[in-house]
Symmetry: C2
Subunit: 90 residues, 2 copies
Amino acid sequence: MDKHVEVIGIAAGVCTAMSMIPQIVKVIKEKKTEDISLFYLLVLLFGLGLWTYYGILKDDLPIIATNIFSMVLNLTMITLNMVYTKSKKN
Amino acid sequence: MDKHVEVIGIAAGVCTAMSMIPQIVKVIKEKKTEDISLFYLLVLLFGLGLWTYYGILKDDLPIIATNIFSMVLNLTMITLNMVYTKSKKN
């Protein structure tokens, strides 16, 4: 693959994956996730899984790498969402 | 492009783009965006722009179409975020 194109893809993936980090930091700091929809997180997780599969089918490394990283961050958010929702009920 | 692969890409894009819709609905209903970071939305917008550029460079229609759709939804969230933050100050 053209190196220039690959760099654009990796930069794109880093931004869309990194965009979840301030959200995670904010949730940990404030210990609440009231405004974050669990359904949104689950649909996003499914979509990221499909993007990873698409990347594998097209042999596209930037797509595979960034979507796996996004899935890890997304799973972190889902865990936090469940922990804070549970601790609120108690 | 292989039709099967294209369908996977479109399905992936629909899921990651659609995942913003429940979030938008929730913000409109509750008229508050306290837990949603503006910085997160701006980094995501930049990343989606780069993905669109990547799609153009690779001539990949599912990537172009779904990232443009995601950018529209993201801009809607940014607008709502600004409107509700402003109305709160008044």
